[in-house]
């Protein structure tokens, strides 16, 4: 239904469901508001948006809640309205302490702005009442209830946008206040410090604590960019003090995908690392066994000489290079091009190998394209969400907000994981599987779906190549058998299958819990099969969605930092492609032999097959499984070049260190998990002695007599884009404001929010690859009786170099903890906080224990964020048989108590992600 309303004499059309405020805003008519926010449901609390409605007989109505009705006549201002608005502002100013001189919010405060616009100078009445105490307990957020106007935005934000559900109104009438949990200080609450409440607060009641006193809004330069943490690719505004050359605050960009202003604790508050004193700031080379500072000229000359000597002696394939999921597209392209065009080998790979390699391989084999099929924001509209092997609230917090929003909108959420992760709080059904049993679980579900006639036969017939093959293969996995393997009760499995088969369109999301297994690619293929059986592909809010872990791990793959493809997946072993690139790059003799994968590169160090490793942003020693073995390998390299922003576990083994420019210092692009290419911007003046790595590569290439054509990040992008396929329409200019999603083959293509539209797969028809379940490589036994699984914590990222060099995150999570189920802990006499020794067949570490029911009985868990207690000392160097992705999720360990102890973090902090 549509109609027309008259606002201030203007006749304006509207569509059903629009409010008067909505129509006014759409037509540029200003109505002041305080409690209203675009992202929230209208609340009607503040009463400053009152307008006069009616013809002869008028009444005051709040425009934010009032639905537009045909023929309605509205006046947005007259004497009465202004008088009422002034009264509202005077009343608000009269309650609490509104001292604009001292308030951090000055210049951005909506109450201040409204008082100014209405000419209100002071409150009508001042009452001396005891003021409420300021809650400064939390590291990132300050709550000053003296400035609260009870508009409810923070409560609504916490409940409905990020769905963390920590804030609520408490008490009644004039005593109304906002509390955390059951009225505890924020630091003791389950608040995850995402800061959405701060972002939406119209006044100075919720503040970014670290930014206080660091500059008024008009003094700070605003730079829009992309978040340097997980693969969500949130859009940020950096607030920069240009004189101090520091980022002093970060806010989320409202109204822009994928995050619509929402952020997590890392994205919003983990911004100090570029200005850390610990940065690498000088090139170094090893002289007489010691790394010493040298000039750039010397470092580059030395590196050139050594590469030349070794490659001339042993051939190009002893050279290997690592790109990185944490550096820009431009740098990944640069190292890829250098390796191929200058050294003439395809030995380039990056850390997707150790995370989502199986997604790329498994989905490419099934659908023809190995990326997230749908978009992040679509998740909130899913009907059934099937989340497996993804600790979303910690690893992809902003994506988890959309999942929780889906639940609030009525979606069914099924969470499958060996651990009772925080997302389970919102789950309709939590399914606990044994580690490493996903194929059996998924096959069992398919068996049940086929058996009950819930398979989408039309989709199978029209859109897949070999439906009968999968139908037959799944017969071997009746629920009874599957249940026995994966440990899920038969009734639960049947319920899951029933929901998947009958409750509407299914959207599948998964992460490393699926890929980091010896059967990672099998797992991915099983997920792809399940979704093809259900047929929810190529439509909005459906699909198979691997959530990529790092800011640019999708981009690093897309850029061809892989041993088998150039950018946008053009195969190196296709002579036509090689010819194309020889012409494009102006070089000869590009190798058509597929290069080594990352673990192969490392393994070949042992037999002399790898002599040079050019490592950009990887911290190999800490991230590869079996740290002790990795270090032994790195030590044997003839030339180990490390480019990074911080000294880390890997730098001590380097022969050359090139300090890299940090996020915030360079221009470029990242491609997020939903295939969206977004710009990254220079906000800070780079350290004077730090150079972009593409410049280093360019200088090296020059010495080899090759002109890479790299004069700027934009020039690199243009060089890459020219010879790409799915990126061919994504120009530097087009993604300067809002990112574009590939495939985007032409400059007028709008980008692709969801792929395989109408079930038309990139490869034509979908291909089933039915798989048999196999056990993990190492299973618990008498000597090493417990499972160890690994993952990520909310508060830290990768090897901690960024998060541990930012203020406050370390306070929230200062140490690694091994998570143990109470049953196991009791057997071992371990309580939370005790020091324990954890050992596997590969090594051992000492750390404190956290006894928690989020672990299953017999399953322990930790991360690799902390160099001093790194889970990868324990993990097994066993690999997926297709992509050689390490089996980080399963190995066997033993735990012994050393002595009593106490956690370093404040009570409650660790438990924020383990609520019952």
């Amino acid at each position: 239904m549509t109609g027309t309303i008259t606002i201030d004499g203007k006749s304006l059309p509207f569509v059903d469901g629009q409010t008067v405020l909505g129509v006014a805003r759409e037509n540029g008519i200003h109505i002041p508001t305080l409690c209203y926010h675009r992202k929230l449901l209208p609340q009607g609390r503040c009463r400053v948006c009152l307008v006069s409605v009616g013809g002869k007989q008028t009444s005051l109505q709040p425009s934010c809640t009032l639905p537009a009705q045909d023929g309605m006549v509205v006046k947005t201002t007259n004497d009465e309205i202004v008088s009422v608005r002034r009264s509202m502002v005077e009343l608000m100013l009269g309650n609490g302490e509104h001292n604009c001189i001292a308030c951090e919010k000055t210049g951005e405060c909506e109450l201040q702005a409204l008082a100014y616009a209405l000419g209100v100078e002071r409150p009508a009445i001042v009452v001396e009442e005891p003021s409420q105490p300021v809650d400064a307990s939390a590291p990132m957020i300050l709550r000053d209830m003296r400035r609260c106007i009870a508009c409810g935005r923070c409560v609504a934000a916490c409940s409905t946008t990020v769905v963390n559900e920590v804030l609520s109104f408490a008490n009644r009438g004039k005593h109304v206040t906002v509390v955390c949990d059951n009225d505890v200080p924020m630091a003791d609450s389950t608040c995850v410090q995402c800061g959405e409440c701060v972002q939406l607060c119209p006044v100075g009641a919720l503040l970014d604590k670290k930014a206080m006193g660091k500059g008024r809004p008009w003094e700070l330069r605003k730079v829009i960019t992309t978040c340097p943490y997980c693969g969500t690719g949130c859009q940020l505004v950096l607030h920069v003090d240009t004189r101090a050359n520091r980022i002093v605050r970060v806010t989320g960009r409202e109204g822009v995908p994928p995050n619509d202003g929402m952020l997590c604790v890392k994205g919003r508050f983990g911004y100090e690392f570029p200005s850390s004193e610990n940065r690498l700031t000088s090139p170094q080379i090893r002289k007489n066994g010691v790394l010493v500072d040298v000039s750039w000229e010397e470092a580059i000359d030395f590196t050139y000489r050594r590469i030349k000597e070794i490659v001339e002696r042993d051939g190009p394939d002893v050279f290997s290079a690592f790109g990185s999921g944490r550096v820009s597209n431009e740098l990944n392209y640069a190292i890829m091009k250098f390796t191929r065009a200058v050294i003439k080998t395809n030995n380039v790979d990056h850390c997707a190998r150790v995370c989502h390699g199986p997604s790329v391989a498994g989905l490419a084999a099934s659908f023809g394209s190995g990326a997230m099929t749908n978009s992040i924001q679509e998740i909130q509209d899913a009907e059934v969400l099937f989340v497996i092997g993804s600790n979303t609230t910690e690893a992809h917090p902003v994506i988890s907000y959309y999942m929780k929003r889906a639940v609030k909108r009525g979606a069914v959420l099924i969470v499958t994981d060996p651990r009772r992760i925080d997302l389970c709080r919102w789950a309709t059904l939590y399914v606990q599987t044994k580690p490493g049993t996903d194929v059996a679980y998924l096959n069992g579900l398919m068996n049940e779906i086929f058996k009950n006639g819930w398979a989408n036969e039309e989709f199978l017939r029209n859109n897949t190549e070999n439906p009968d093959q999968v139908r037959k293969a799944m017969e071997e996995y009746p629920i009874e058998r599957a249940s026995q393997i994966c440990g899920v009760p038969e009734a639960t499995m049947r319920e899951v299958a029933r929901i998947l088969g009958t409750r509407g369109k299914v959207c599948i999301c998964y992460t490393l819990g699926i890929t980091e297994h010896n059967c990672g690619t099998d797992n991915v293929k099983a997920i792809a099969s399940l979704q093809m059986v259900l047929g929810h592909l190529g439509q909005y809010a459906t699909g198979v969605n691997p959530l990529r872990g790092q800011n640019n791990v999708q981009g690093a793959c897309d850029m061809g930092a892989l041993p088998n493809v150039y950018q946008t997946y053009q195969a190196v072993d296709d002579p036509g492609v090689a010819k194309k690139f020889e012409a494009a790059w102006g070089v000869n003799g590009l190798s058509t032999r597929v290069g080594y994968k990352m673990p192969t590169m490392l393994r070949k160090i042992g037999d002399g097959g790898t002599k040079i490793l050019y490592c950009i942003g990887d911290n190999t020693a800490q991230v590869e499984p079996n740290v002790n073995k990795t270090i032994e390998e790195l030590k044997k390299l003839e030339l180990f070049i490390v480019c990074d922003i911080f000294p880390n576990m890997t730098t001590p083994y380097a022969h050359v260190i090139f300090p890299d420019q940090c996020w915030g210092e360079f221009e470029g692009t990242y491609t997020n998990t939903e295939r969206r290419v977004s710009r990254v911007r220079r906000a800070l003046d780079p350290h004077p002695n730090v150079r972009p790595q593409w410049w280093v590569l360019s200088e090296l290439a020059k010495r080899f007599g090759v002109d890479l054509g790299f004069t700027s990040e934009e020039a690199i992008w243009n060089d890459m884009q020219r010879s790409s396929t799915s990126y061919a329409g994504i120009t530097w200019e087009r993604c300067k404001d809002v990112g574009l999603q590939w495939p985007c083959p032409t400059p007028d293509h709008p980008g692709t929010p969801f792929m395989h539209k109408n079930g038309k797969f990139s490869r034509g028809k979908g291909m089933f690859h039915p798989k048999q379940w196999r056990a993990p490589t190492e299973v618990p036994d008498a000597a090493y009786p417990l499972w160890l699984s690994t993952g990520r914590r909310l508060w830290h990222y990768h090897t901690g170099t960024q998060t541990r060099n930012s203020v406050g995150l370390e306070e929230l999570c200062p140490e690694e903890l091994i998570e143990l189920h109470p049953v196991d802990a009791e057997k071992l006499g371990i309580r939370t906080g005790d020091w324990v020794k954890v050992s596997s067949r590969r090594g051992s570490i000492d750390l404190r224990a956290w006894v928690t029911e989020r672990s299953a009985v017999g399953v322990t868990w930790m991360t690799f964020h902390f160099a001093e207690a790194c889970g990868n000392v324990l993990t097994i160097d066993a690999y997926d048989d297709v992509t050689v992705t390490p089996e980080y999720k399963c190995c066997a360990i033993k735990v012994e108590k050393i002595e009593d102890g106490q956690l370093r973090a404040k009570a409650g902090a660790t438990e924020r992600q383990a609520r019952p």
Partner: protein, 594 residues
């Protein structure tokens, strides 16, 4: 938490379409099991059990005045000091208890035996002063009776005193069975021709019943007088969502104590009325939202529902007509504003009982977002008569556009406070006569409960008690709660008490209501204490003006309109105290007008 309590809460959750609705009953259960107050850990446990965020559960527990977040004594003495109580000497009772126990209001005796509180209206206006001890009402209290009560409580005995409300009925419809000894039993109800109307209704089509109710002209008895038939017509035709019927038994308007007469003494009349309404609108599930203080009435209703279930009058396939009807009795927890239908719905959903903005109206999107019809007890109790005796019989009672019987509660300065059933349109004087007449000389009268503007004696002259006549005199019939004030009554004192009621009961959601509820008592206190200024009196009027028509719900305006009327109509009385103040120092004040 004890396993038995845990099981009880799980059971409670099963009674509702959504488990969250069990939050309030669960908190009641825990408080009852834990010496009358709630621990934060208990609230957290309930939240976990019902799948509610901790903060939301705490938000609810801290919203309702009957949940005690601080420990209370073994006997929690709660004195109703609202206006009818004030007029009956409730302040003397408070002072007396305070002296006897050597505690101030809000304090607990050292031995932990007694806590003294003042509370807002307990719907006991005809029998006040009233002292509520834990869950029991002790009515018509005097200092001497307080001493007896305290003595008994010290011995660990809750006395079984009964002080029934005086009543009279001219219509013999709503209070017809009030005098019957075993009126609450289904046998007696059936013997008096009960549930015949329901049977008659079930023999007709729902639309036919709706037509009759529409033709009867029945208007809602909760206060607004909205035509029942028109309310039903707002239901979306052919809706696929469930339709809910809610009986609003959150009787909390000061001056009003009529619904409790029906529920306490003739519960089956209400149940039958609900069943008829549910049948007419197609509701499968119904709720009776009873104010938290009426927990013994909830017990009576539950017992009556049980009897009716056993008699086949409630439940599945009633009287073999293929119609299902049942009701859940839901206890509030002390929040006047939950009498507003959208706040009631929020509360029933297990949330803070704050009003929703309208539209959408409950008939379109109410309980759990489904079409919902909310009716006052008295309204529903009229339905059996309409179905049984017919539209014409109903329209024969009352005046044009104001048909049917009405229970008036009369309190304040009359000889026999009580409830009196008369046809709508009966002159005020007749009702006051029924209540034994005014004690002393009439100064002012409130006819629709405390949130309606008072009338001076002159303005009340010749007033007919119906919706339209009252509107013509600039007031509202409201709930028919008549509060009579004689010359000894201090209007500034009553204005202050009214604003304190506002301060206690404002939900705090919208700016003007919250902020004026904070300021008005402070300003009026100064007037009463003789410290106020004329400028401050004008500020009172400005605050009341700014709130009228600007609040989120009708409550905001309703709280302050009577205060404005008091200040305007009796300005001289305020100024006479204010003039005292002008001589006294004003600088000491805690309030300053810019």
């Amino acid at each position: 938490m004890l396993a038995s309590l845990r099981n009880r809460i799980v059971e409670l959750a099963a009674r509702y379409p959504e488990p969250r609705s069990a939050l309030m009953p669960a908190l009641h259960a825990i408080q009852a099991a834990a010496n009358g107050s709630l621990q934060k850990t208990d609230i957290q446990d309930v939240a976990t059990l019902l799948g509610i965020p901790y903060a939301h559960a705490f938000g609810v527990a801290s919203y309702y005045s009957m949940y005690n977040l601080a420990p209370v004594g073994k006997y929690h003495l709660q004195v109703d000091t609202n206006v009818p109580g004030l007029l009956a000497g409730a302040d003397d009772i408070v002072r007396h208890i305070s002296r006897r126990l050597e505690v101030k209001v809000g304090q607990t005796t050292k031995d932990g035996l007694f806590t003294l509180s003042t509370v807002e209206d307990l719907a006991s206006c005809g029998t006040c002063p009233v002292v509520k001890v834990n869950h029991r009402y002790y009515e018509r209290m005097s200092p001497a009776k307080v001493d007896d009560l305290l003595a008994s409580l010290r011995l660990g005995q809750m006395p079984e005193w009964s002080e029934p409300t005086r009543f009279g009925t001219e219509c013999n419809i709503l209070l017809r069975r009030r005098a019957r000894a075993d009126a609450t039993s289904i046998q007696s109800y059936l013997a008096d021709g009960g549930y015949v109307a329901l049977e008659k209704a079930l023999a007709q089509k729902p639309a036919e019943i709706a037509t009759q109710v529409n033709q009867s002209g029945l208007r809602g008895r909760g206060g607004a007088g909205f035509p029942v038939g028109r309310k039903w017509s707002l239901l979306p035709p052919g809706t696929k969502s469930p339709i809910y019927l809610i009986c609003n038994a959150d009787e909390g308007e000061p001056g009003t104590f009529k619904d409790r007469q029906i529920m306490e003494f003739d519960p089956h009349l209400l149940i039958e009325g609900m069943a008829i309404a549910a049948y007419a609108i197609g509701a499968k599930r119904s709720f009776i939202y009873v104010r938290g203080e009426f927990d013994w009435i909830a017990t009576i209703l539950e017992r009556a529902l049980d009897e009716a279930r056993r008699a086949g009058k409630v439940g599945h396939n009633i009287m073999g007509r293929g119609f299902d009807f049942d009701a859940v009795v839901h206890l509030g927890a002390g929040a006047y504003i939950c009498g507003e239908e959208t706040a009631l719905i929020e509360s029933l959903e297990g949330k803070r009982g704050t009003p929703r903005f309208k539209p959408p109206f409950p008939a379109v999107a109410g309980l759990y977002g489904c079409p919902t019809i909310v009716h006052n007890v008295e309204t529903l109790a009229c339905l059996p008569f309409i179905v049984q005796d017919g539209v014409e019989a109903f329209r024969a009672i009352g005046t044009a556009n104001n048909f049917g019987p009405k229970i008036f509660g009369v309190s304040g300065n009359v000889k026999n406070p009580g409830v009196y059933e008369f046809p709508l349109g009966t002159p005020l004087t007749r009702v006051l006569e029924a209540a034994g007449g005014v004690v002393g000389k009439l100064k002012a009268v409130i006819v629709g409960g405390l949130t309606t503007p008072l009338l001076t004696a002159a303005e009340a002259e010749g007033l007919l008690l119906d919706y339209d006549s009252c509107a013509a005199r600039g007031t509202l019939l409201g709930s028919g709660g008549i509060i009579v004030m004689n010359e000894s009554a201090s209007i500034p004192q009553i204005a202050l008490r009214t604003s304190e009621f506002h301060a206690h009961e404002s939900c705090g959601q919208c700016t003007p209501c919250r902020e004026s509820s904070r300021l008005l008592p402070l300003l009026l206190r100064k007037q009463v204490d003789g410290r106020g200024t004329e400028a401050e009196l004008d500020m009172v009027l400005r605050l009341t003006r700014d709130l009228r028509g600007t609040a989120l719900c009708p409550g905001g305006g309703a709280f302050v309109t009577p205060v404005a009327a008091m200040v305007t109509k009796f300005r001289h009385e305020f100024l006479s105290t204010a003039s005292i103040a002008s001589k006294a120092a004003t600088a000491e004040g805690d309030v300053g007008v810019a």
